[in-house]
């Protein structure tokens, strides 16, 4: 299946959860959030939420500056 991660196309073999995908990309670190198709996925759902063909995944980092 094909997904889009931070606007880049990625080919993945299903099944793959959010947590598995982030671990594979070495992106699992504190202070990040993930949205699939413009919807934020709560952290406790990352282990079970599957990625589906055509999903758009955005990863963003907390910022504190003001």
């Amino acid at each position: 299946m094909l997904i889009y991660f931070n606007q880049q196309p990625f080919s993945l073999t299903p099944p793959c959860t959010v947590a598995e995908f982030l671990a594979g990309q070495q992106q699992l670190r504190p202070g990040i959030a993930v949205a699939i198709n413009q919807q934020v996925i709560p952290r406790s759902c990352w282990d079970t939420q599957p990625l589906n063909d055509g999903d758009t995944i955005m990863l963003f980092t907390a910022i504190a500056g003001g």
Partner: protein, 251 residues
């Protein structure tokens, strides 16, 4: 006072021309009380626009003093004011901009208990702080006191804006970043004035729309902006079922 004075009609004449505005809407702003926490690049711009628009009572909280490196983006301050408390410099400047407002300076870093004591008397909180622990405490206090929160953040080329009414089950700041410890400050990661100004202007616009109850304030949505590439996105927040702040259902 139930109608605008002639001087007020003149002062606010441009915004009164908007179809969503009228005298009663302007009076609504004049009777509003807003807490702005943090008077850096975000807070100084936000405070200036809210004072200009006639938000009648501003509470300004910051324990910091003006430094030379603040001046490129913190537009309330001048070179002569370096070393002054930001709340004092800001109060003087805003009071000169709009003498009919009440401005309450709070030269402190507000703790959770300070916030819980202050919030029952305010209509809206604007988080313009520069650190994770203040942001999470403000989020918690706004949840507990059911006061709407509009939170802005800027760092490097990135800006984030989040309007929250977390007691409505739409999620909170802690839901978004549950394991957030801290992030680099503006001095560590760099910042350009207009980037933080853009976030501040959006924050001030949402604040005025919320106070006036007009348009769409997009509560529960995170707006992310990348100023280097000119890209933005809006993401819908979801409540974290395990959130210790807003999901502690039957405790």
């Amino acid at each position: 006072m139930s109608e605008l004075t002639p001087a007020q009609q003149l002062r606010y004449s441009a915004q009164l021309l908007l179809p969503e505005m009228d005298e009663s809407q302007q009076l609504r702003l004049l009777y509003s009380k807003v807490l702005i926490i943090g008077l850096g690049g975000l807070g100084s711009v936000v405070a200036s626009y809210l004072a200009g628009a006639g938000v009648g009572h501003l509470l300004l909280a910051d324990d910091d003093r003006v430094s030379l490196s603040n001046l490129p983006r913190q537009l309330l301050y001048s070179s002569a004011g370096v070393g002054q408390l930001k709340v004092d410099a800001a109060t003087a400047r805003l009071q000169a901009q709009n003498p009919e407002l009440v401005i309450t300076p709070l030269a402190a870093r507000l703790s959770l208990s300070d916030l819980l004591a202050l919030l029952p008397e305010v209509n809206l909180v604007l988080d313009c702080t520069d650190n994770a622990s203040s942001r999470l405490a403000i989020n918690q206090a706004c949840f507990l006191r059911q006061v709407p929160l509009i939170s802005g953040a800027a760092s490097g080329w990135r800006g984030q804006l989040l309007a929250l009414q977390p007691w409505l089950g739409q999620g909170c700041y802690q839901c978004l970043y549950p394991d957030w410890q801290d992030s680099p400050s503006c001095l560590q990661s760099g910042i350009l004035g207009p980037l933080v100004g853009m976030v501040a202007c959006q924050q001030a616009l949402l604040a005025l729309k919320h106070l006036l109850q007009i348009g769409d304030v997009s509560f529960g949505r995170l707006y992310c902006f990348d100023g280097l590439h000119g890209q933005s996105s809006q993401l819908k927040l979801q409540q974290e079922p395990a959130c210790p702040i807003c999901a502690a259902g039957d405790s």
